[in-house]
């Protein structure tokens, strides 16, 4: 690893560039938190003002798939931290193996999620004229499912981006690229991947647990 930064870039040393890139990622994640924060605010308000309908919606979600997916995602995040650690010690092969495992688990999560969505479409749980839940709670339940589909969709988009980023990292591992630090890329993607995981840790109870009993 050389210590020279790109002479046309704004940095004196590579270390300086690495630190700065990591700072940038943290700031971006702060911004992302506010994006999901707005979404959670909506759920918080409707879970309160339309409590019965909201709970009726929660009861229709598939706890088994949701639970399995939660475990998969936590495992994936944990395995990715091994990739970060391996990259720090310059064990490239081990880092790539761990990262690819993490990405594969991410794909399993997405497949399960897609299966869950298709099941819900068949059961007419997508809000609209043929909505499955009727009666007094129909309105609140529709609100819940509006939130459910948007939130899980937005989370899935982040998962897809994250998986793509991990794939990009693994592809770049073989190349020697002076002036760029591979380890830092692994770390930055790790921050993002953990963040996506963290969002699910909030979504899971909101969508599957709170109000179920």
């Amino acid at each position: 690893m050389s210590d020279a930064a790109d002479p046309h870039g704004p940095y004196e040393t590579l270390r300086h560039q690495e630190e700065t890139t990591i700072a940038g990622m943290w700031l971006f994640l702060a911004s992302e938190s506010l994006l999901f924060g707005g979404l959670f605010l909506v759920s918080l308000i409707y879970a309160h003002t339309r409590a019965n309908g909201w709970a009726a919606g929660v009861r229709h979600t598939d706890l088994v798939i949701g639970g399995v997916n939660t475990v998969i995602l936590i495992t994936s995040s944990a395995i990715y931290t091994l990739a970060v650690e391996a990259a720090r010690q310059d064990h490239k092969r081990r880092a790539v193996q761990a990262a690819m495992t993490a990405a594969a688990l991410g794909l399993v999560f997405l497949l399960l999620k897609a299966f869950e969505w298709s099941k819900e479409f068949k059961e007419h749980l997508f809000p609209g004229t043929h909505f499955a839940i009727t009666g007094a709670d129909a309105g609140g339940a529709q609100l819940f499912y509006s939130f459910y589909f948007l939130a899980t969709f937005l989370h899935a988009v982040h998962m897809i981006v994250g998986t793509g980023l991990i794939a990009w990292i693994c592809l770049r591992a073989g190349k020697v690229n002076p002036g760029k630090s591979w380890n830092t890329s692994v770390e930055i993607v790790g921050l993002y991947w953990s963040f996506v995981d963290l969002v699910w840790m909030i979504l899971f109870p909101v969508l599957y647990l709170v109000g179920r009993t």
Binding site: P7, H8, G9, P10, E12, H16, E19, T20, T21, A23, G24, L27, F28, A30, S31, E32, S33, L34, L35, F36, G37, G38, L39, L41, V42, I45, Y46, T49, R50, F126, P127, G128, G139, G140, Q142, L143, Y145, S146, F147, F149, L150, L154
Partner: protein, 549 residues
């Protein structure tokens, strides 16, 4: 480190080092990206102005001159959306911010040069989407997209416009991240926080809003689009949603965004006032921290847009008091600018005329804001032309004046050419006069009860409306003038020296226009930001050493 060849030809500026179109479109040089932005937002400013011109034409006659009621609604919507999201929000941060942040810090570029270029492409794409929506029929919701107006009752093109505004948010976030990280990480040796020019403090505060408020708008617009496409109810009362929730979320972004549209202008004015009084800014630390506190308090006042929307009285009282708080840091700035001018040897060049215009108009805009922050008077004044006049005093009288002031002030640095000073002063005076003639009558109209957003009005309001429209036509001429003489100066203007205004600040220590790498060697900072004593001493020594020049 070996001497790079670049230092052998510092006179080869960033403008001409590689003249191909490709090199411009793929540039990661912050100065070139600033120019790309400058051209882009000028186009949007012109587009938005056309909307304004049609509005003022329509309102010359009580029954309306040229537009149908619906077209009128689409015109003020177009004017608002283009001016807010495609001009005012990006304006100073993406042009002077991009150009100056690395120069003021003593750095070679922003922290993430490629992200910076990406932000421009996102911005262009978002602008095209918005324009597509507007030219394919437009929409009649006003710039705020209130539900259910934007869901159940609209016949317009809400979706492409919302998508465009959504996309422009990412461009803002990218710029914000870049500026914040650059200020933290790329300060030259010796450039402590309290040695930074006030422009950087203002841009830092603005960027915090970019990064932390914009995503809330993004999610709100996403929910709105989701509601539109799938006919589900998130905000639509007919489908069980809560339209007030939309307003809360919208203003949680859009009120801080109001400060996005003024803080950078305050930064520009601080630089100009100090330079043209040849004095350090009075109370530097107070001015610096007032930018931060305006940004912080700005997050807590959104409810004052909803006093008559049916929110609780207690919430309204709290929001009212918090809104009054904003006036404290704002007043600190105004008093400190005046304190700087007091006893200074003031030069009345065009940038200073704009800065003085800013101070006066911002003060009027700020004081009338207090009428709207008070619950009792707001109930009378809300939804009238008083509100229109108030925020135009801040945004046009304030921000656009600062933008033009900054353009004149840094034009020599950006292009290496001087603009014609006399024409600059004439335009500044015309803008000030035209602006007041356009918008002052609107305070009276609003006070007398003329509601905003109507295509027609009762006859007793005609005199004031005609005055306002007359002012707008003066304003139009005054805005075209700089376009003409700036273009002229590119070809015929006198060559600008490195520091034409005898200003402090690192950006004036390099050549005009600067070389691609900004400085031949990384500057070292040894004193505060407005150290005119040292500057004058150095200039005297230089003059003595070179008596024959």
């Amino acid at each position: 480190m070996t001497e790079t060849p670049a230092s052998l030809f510092p006179e080869r500026s960033y403008l001409w080092q590689d003249g191909t179109l490709r090199s411009w479109l793929l540039t990661t040089d912050h100065k070139r990206i600033a120019l790309l932005y400058l051209v882009t937002i000028t186009v949007f400013f012109a587009t938005g102005s056309i909307g304004a011109a049609l509005i003022r034409l329509q309102l010359i006659e009580p029954g309306g001159m040229i537009l149908s009621d619906e077209t009128y609604s689409r015109m003020f919507t177009m004017h608002g959306i283009v001016m807010v999201w495609l001009f005012l929000v990006p304006s100073i941060p993406v042009t002077f911010g991009n150009f100056l942040v690395p120069l003021m810090l003593g750095a070679r570029d922003l922290a993430f040069p490629r992200l910076n270029l990406l932000s421009w492409y996102l911005f262009v794409a978002s602008g095209l989407l918005v324009l597509y929506g507007l030219f394919r029929g437009g929409l009649e919701t006003g710039w705020t997209f209130y539900t259910p107006l934007s869901t159940d009752y609209t016949q317009g093109r809400v979706l492409p416009v919302v998508a465009g505004v959504f996309l422009s948010g990412f461009s803002s976030i990218a710029t914000g991240v870049n500026i914040i990280v650059s200020i933290h990480q790329l300060r030259a040796p010796g450039m402590t926080w309290y040695r930074m020019p006030l422009m950087l403090w203002a841009l830092y505060a603005t960027s915090v809003i970019f990064v932390l408020a914009t995503p809330v708008l993004s999610i709100t617009l996403l929910l709105l689009a989701f509601e539109h496409i799938f006919r589900v109810g998130v905000f639509d009362p007919a489908l069980g949603g809560d339209p007030l929730l939309f307003q809360h979320l919208f203003w949680f972004y859009s009120h801080p965004a109001v400060y996005i549209m003024i803080l950078p202008g305050m930064g520009v004015v601080s630089e100009i006032v100090s330079t043209f009084c040849h004095k350090p800014i009075f109370g530097y630390r107070f001015v610096a921290w007032s930018s931060i506190s305006i940004a912080a308090i700005g997050f807590l006042v959104w409810g004052h847009h909803m006093f008559v929307a049916g929110t609780s009285l207690y919430a309204a009282i709290v929001f009212s008091m918090l809104s009054f708080l904003v006036s404290v840091p704002s007043a600190i700035k105004v008093f400190n600018w005046l304190g700087t001018m007091h006893g200074g040897s003031i030069r009345l060049d065009a940038p200073m005329l704009y800065a003085m215009g800013f101070i006066g108009l911002f003060t009027v805009g700020g004081l009338t804001g207090l009428f709207l922050a008070s619950l009792a008077s707001d109930v009378h004044l809300t939804q009238t032309y008083f509100v229109v006049a108030h925020f135009h005093y801040i945004m046009v009288g304030g921000m656009v004046s600062a933008y033009f002031g900054g353009l004149h002030y840094w034009w020599p640095k950006i292009t290496g050419r001087m603009y014609p000073e006399m024409w600059g002063r004439i335009a500044a005076a015309l803008i000030f006069f035209g602006f007041n003639l356009t918008f002052f009558p609107q305070f009276i109209l609003g006070y007398e009860g003329m509601p905003r957003r109507y295509a027609t009005y009762p006859e007793q309001f005609q005199v004031l409306n005609v005055l306002s429209s007359a002012g707008a036509s003066i304003l139009a001429v005054a805005y075209v003038l700089p376009l003409v003489y700036f273009t002229w100066s590119l070809f015929k203007g006198a060559r600008a020296p490195g520091n034409p205004w005898a200003a402090t600040g690192l950006e004036w220590q390099t050549s005009s226009p600067p070389p691609t790498e900004n400085f031949a060697r990384t500057p070292e900072v040894t004193s505060g930001p407005y150290d005119y004593a040292t500057l004058d001493r150095l200039n005297r020594t230089a003059a003595e050493e070179a008596p024959h020049v």
